[in-house]
């Protein structure tokens, strides 16, 4: 993602940690299946170097590459649970509080009942 993007150049600790963990796990799954990087790459339609980047948790690599690796390993299903609105308790509470409309916010909204 060209242009010095703060979040990619120096991600918050949580993001970096999540990335490295995801990369390690993809590598583990690949090794268990005895696939060379080059073969996984071929299935995804990318070069082997991109697979190596993914396994290192490179932040600037496109998300489709990461999801593609999960897909090629048969592990994409677990993405269904991420950010599920039904499980977002904080979000649900906020929605109940305000009117459930679009964004707007700004300064003092007067519905602070």
């Amino acid at each position: 993602m060209p242009r010095p993007t703060k979040i990619a150049a120096s991600p918050p600790a949580g993001v970096e940690e999540a990335l490295e963990r995801l990369g390690r796990r993809i590598r583990t799954a690949r090794l268990r299946r005895r696939l060379p990087q080059a073969e996984l790459a071929a299935r995804m339609g990318v070069s082997r170097f991109v697979v190596a980047d993914v396994e290192r948790g490179k932040p600037t690599t496109g998300i489709a590459v990461y999801l593609g690796a999960l897909w090629a390993l048969g592990l994409l299903g677990q993405m269904r649970e991420v950010a599920d609105p039904d499980r977002d308790e904080e979000g649900k509470a906020l929605e109940r509080a305000h009117s459930p409309r679009r964004a707007h916010r700004r300064g003092a909204l007067s519905d602070d009942f």
Copy 2:
């Protein structure tokens, strides 16, 4: 991710679906919290246009941007479950079958006992 990458240009159906779902969910979480795209973007250190891309599920956008959005919304925790080796039954089975080593594969491996 510059250079025509097959997986990003025309992702497999499952990947595209997962991406659009993720984008929609990020949008939903943002609206519930009454944050404008520009404000979420500011917290992440990117421009508002990138947030719009994420909510549309753009495949070529860097993974750090997606994870950064989840992070800024307090939803990053759910990434812990993705590709968990303990839950990869297929991988575990394969590991038990072969020697649990590195990759190699190639043609006829002779350990077909």
